[in-house]
C-alpha cells in the first residue's frame, strides 16, 4: 500500500516539476515568442519551417509552430479554442467563415498593416471583401480556390467535337453534353456522360451552381445582404440543370447525389466529358490520368458573363494573439515572392498575388494561364450566416434535381428559408 502511494506521489512530483520547468523556461528567458499557426493545407508547414530558419538566421527569438486542421474541423476546433482562450495566433481559415468570426471579434484589425503592403492592389478584390468589415481589413486572401469547368479533349475528339472549343454558353453546354453522352455497348444505357451535377454537398452547390446563376445575371444576396434569390434568373439556372438530366438525358440522375470524388473519378476514368472542377484538382488529374488531355474554362453562362466562385482561405491574426507584431511579421513573410512562388506554385496551387503568376512553374501549363484570367471574375457571397444557408440550399436544390420538388417551389421556398436564416 505504502509503496503504491509513494510511486504515485513520485509520478505527481515529477510531472509537476517538469511542468514548472517548462513554464520557467518560457518566463525566465522572456525572449522566445512562440506563434501558433493553423491551416488546413500542409504546405503551410513548409512555410513555417522556412520562417523559423529565417528568424534563426536573423537572430530573432520568434518561433512558429504549425498545426494542420482538417477541413471539417476548422470551425469546431476554432470555436473550442476560442472558448478556452487558446486560439492560435494566425489562422488560415475557409474564407466564407470570416464574416461571422470577424463580426464576433475573433480577428484583429490589420488595416494599417494592409495599407502599407506594396502588393495590396494585386490581391483579388472580390475575395478580399470577405476579410473586410466596416471599411476595416481583418484578413487577406491567401490560398485561392476557383470553380471552373474542365473538358476532356480526348472525349471531344472521339465525339467529333473541336477539342479546342469548350462550351462557353448554356447552349454550348447542352449541345456538347448531348454529343458526349454515349451508349458504347448498345445495352440502352449510357456508358459515358456529357455532364454531371454536383451532388450531395451544399458547399458544392454554392461553389459550382451559384456561378450558373451569376452567369445568368442572378444573385443570392444584393450588395446590402438582402436575399434576392427568388428570381427568374435562378429558376432558369436550376431548370437548365434539371433539363440536362431529364430532358436532354446528358447527365445521370444519380449525379445529384454524387460527391465531388465521384465526379472526379468519372472524369479521369473517361466516363465524364465535362467536369465541374477547381484548381485543386489540376495536379491530381495529371498524376492520376497522365494521358488525359484536358482544358480549363469558365463555367458556361446564360444571359450574363461567365463567372467563378472565389473560394479558399483568408489569413488573419486572431484577437486572442498575444504577439500581433510577430504574427504580422509571419504573414508578411508568407506573402513574399519566394514563399509563394517556391512553395505553392510548384504544386500548381493558386497564389493570391496576381503579379507573381508569371513564374517558371505556371509557365509549363497552359491551364494555369487560364486560371490567372479567371481570377479576376471571382465572386464570393457575403453573409454572416454562411453555414446556416447550407442546409436549405442542399435540401431544395438537391430535392428539385431528384424530381421531388418543383423548380419554381424550390427556388421560392429556398429564398424564404434564406430570408429566415439571414434575418
Amino acid at each position: 500500500m505504502k509503496k503504491v502511494l509513494i510511486i504515485w506521489l513520485l509520478i505527481l512530483v515529477i510531472a509537476a516539476l517538469t511542468f514548472a520547468a517548462g513554464e520557467q523556461e518560457g518566463k525566465g528567458t522572456n525572449k522566445m515568442v512562440a506563434l501558433r499557426v493553423w491551416d488546413r493545407d500542409s504546405v503551410m508547414g513548409d512555410v513555417v519551417d522556412q520562417f523559423n530558419k529565417k528568424m534563426q538566421s536573423e537572430g530573432k527569438n520568434i518561433k512558429a509552430q504549425f498545426e494542420l486542421i482538417p477541413y471539417g474541423q476548422q470551425v469546431p476546433k476554432f470555436m473550442a479554442a476560442m472558448a478556452a482562450g487558446r486560439a492560435p495566433d494566425i489562422y488560415s481559415l475557409d474564407l466564407v467563415q470570416y464574416p461571422y468570426f470577424i463580426s464576433i471579434g475573433a480577428f484583429k484589425d490589420i488595416t494599417e498593416e494592409f495599407e502599407a503592403l506594396p502588393f495590396k492592389d494585386e490581391l483579388p478584390q472580390g475575395i478580399l471583401r470577405l476579410g473586410k468589415q466596416n471599411n476595416k481589413v481583418y484578413a487577406l486572401p491567401y490560398e485561392i480556390d476557383l470553380s471552373v469547368l474542365n473538358w476532356s479533349k480526348n472525349m471531344f475528339r472521339a465525339a467529333g467535337l473541336d477539342p479546342e472549343k469548350p462550351p462557353l454558353t448554356w447552349d454550348d453546354l447542352i449541345k456538347d453534353s448531348v454529343s458526349l453522352t454515349k451508349d458504347k455497348n448498345g445495352d440502352g444505357n449510357p456508358d459515358q456522360w456529357g455532364f454531371a451535377e454536383v451532388g450531395n454537398n451544399a458547399g458544392s452547390y454554392m461553389f459550382w451552381f451559384m456561378p450558373f446563376i451569376w452567369g445568368n445575371n442572378g444573385r443570392m444576396f444584393d450588395d446590402n445582404g438582402k436575399v434576392v434569390f427568388d428570381s427568374r434568373e435562378s429558376k432558369e439556372a436550376l431548370q437548365l440543370w434539371y433539363d440536362l438530366i431529364y430532358k436532354y438525358k446528358a447527365a445521370p440522375v444519380s449525379s445529384a447525389q454524387w460527391s465531388s470524388g465521384d465526379r472526379y473519378n468519372a472524369f479521369i476514368a473517361g466516363k465524364l466529358g465535362l467536369f465541374l472542377s477547381g484548381n485543386f484538382y489540376i495536379k491530381t488529374i495529371m498524376k492520376d490520368a497522365p494521358d488525359l488531355d484536358f482544358g480549363v474554362t469558365l463555367i458556361p453562362h446564360g444571359k450574363g458573363k461567365g463567372a467563378t466562385f472565389g473560394g479558399g482561405n483568408l489569413i488573419g491574426i486572431t484577437s486572442q494573439s498575444k504577439h500581433p507584431a510577430e504574427a504580422w511579421e509571419f504573414i508578411k513573410f508568407a506573402f513574399s515572392k519566394d514563399v509563394l512562388v517556391n512553395n505553392y506554385a510548384p504544386k500548381l496551387m493558386l497564389i493570391p498575388r496576381r503579379d507573381l503568376y508569371e513564374n517558371k512553374y505556371y509557365a509549363k501549363y497552359p491551364q494555369m494561364k487560364k486560371y490567372q484570367e479567371i481570377l479576376g471574375h471571382a465572386i464570393t457571397p457575403y453573409t454572416y450566416k454562411y453555414n446556416q444557408i447550407y442546409d436549405p440550399v442542399l435540401y431544395y436544390l438537391q430535392g428539385s434535381l431528384l424530381g421531388k420538388i418543383k423548380i419554381d417551389s424550390a427556388i421560392k421556398d429556398l429564398a424564404v428559408e434564406l430570408k429566415k436564416v439571414t434575418k
Binding site: 470551425v75 464576433i104 475573433a106 440522375v253 447525389q257 460527391s259 465524364l272 447550407y390 442546409d391 435540401y395
Partner: protein, 293 residues
Amino acid sequence: MTLGQLASKNRMGLLFMLPSLSLLVVFFLFPLTQVLYMSFQDWNVMGSSTWEGINNYIKALGSGEFWLSLWNTFIYTVIVTPLIFVPAILLAVMLKKTTFRTEVMRVVIFIPFTISFVSASYIWSWIYNDTYGILNFLLSKIDLISRPVNWLGETWRARVMISIMVAWKTLGFSMLIFISGLQSISQEIYEAADIDGASRIQTLFLITIPILRPTIFLALVISIAGSFKAFDQFFIMTNGGPMRTTQTIVMYINKIAFENYDMGTGSAVSVLFLILLLSISYQQIRMGGYTGE
C-alpha cells in the same frame, strides 16, 4: 476482515483505479457537465453567455427536424442490427472451434472492423456508384439488372445499402464476442443434448442461444449504442439526403452546434440523446439479466 483492513483494501483499489478515473473525469465527466451547463445557455464563443432556462430544450423538442433525425436513426438501427447479428451468430457457431482454417476465416472476417468508417464509406460509395461502380457492373454482367441502379438515390434503398456496408464492417467484432461466449459453454451440456437426441437446430435454439443470452445482450448494447451514434457513413455516403431522410441525430447535433453555431440547442439535443441512449442501454442490460450482478 476488520473494518480497518476493509478500508485499507478499498484505498488500495481506489489507487489502482486512479489513472482510469482521472481520464474519465477529464474526458467524460467534465465535458458532460459543461454540455449540461451549456444546454441552459445562449452560449457565445466570444463574450458572456446568457441563461436561457429550458428554452433550448423547448426549441429542440419543438423542431420537426429533431424528430425526423431521431426517426431516421431508429429506422437505421432496426435495419442494421439484424444484418449484423444474424450472420455474426451463424459465423460464430461455424467458426467456434479453433483450427488453422477457422482462425484464417476469423481474421478475414475481422479485417473490415480494423479500417475506419470514413475509409469504408468511401470504398462502398465507389462500389455503389451507378456509373463506374463495380456492383452495377457485376449485376449487369450476370443479367440481374438491365439498367444501372442508383443505390443511394432513394431513402429506403440508401438506408439498406448503408446498413449492408456497416454489417460488412462490424460483424467481425460481434462474431468474436459470440465466439468467446460460445467457447465458455461447457462441452458436457452439448454431450448431454447429443445423448438425448437433440438435433443441431434444437441445440442452437434451446441450448446455445439461451446460455449465450448475456453475451448477446452485451453485444446488442454495444451495437445499438453504436448505431444510434451513426455519423460518418451517412455524412459521407448520402450527407443526410435525399431531403434529410437519412440524416441521423448526431448529424443533426453537428449541424446545429457546429454549422449553425447554436451551441445551446446543440447541447440540449445532446443531453436528450444521452438520456435516450442511457434508457435504452439500461433496458437492454435489464433484459440481459445483468442488473442483479
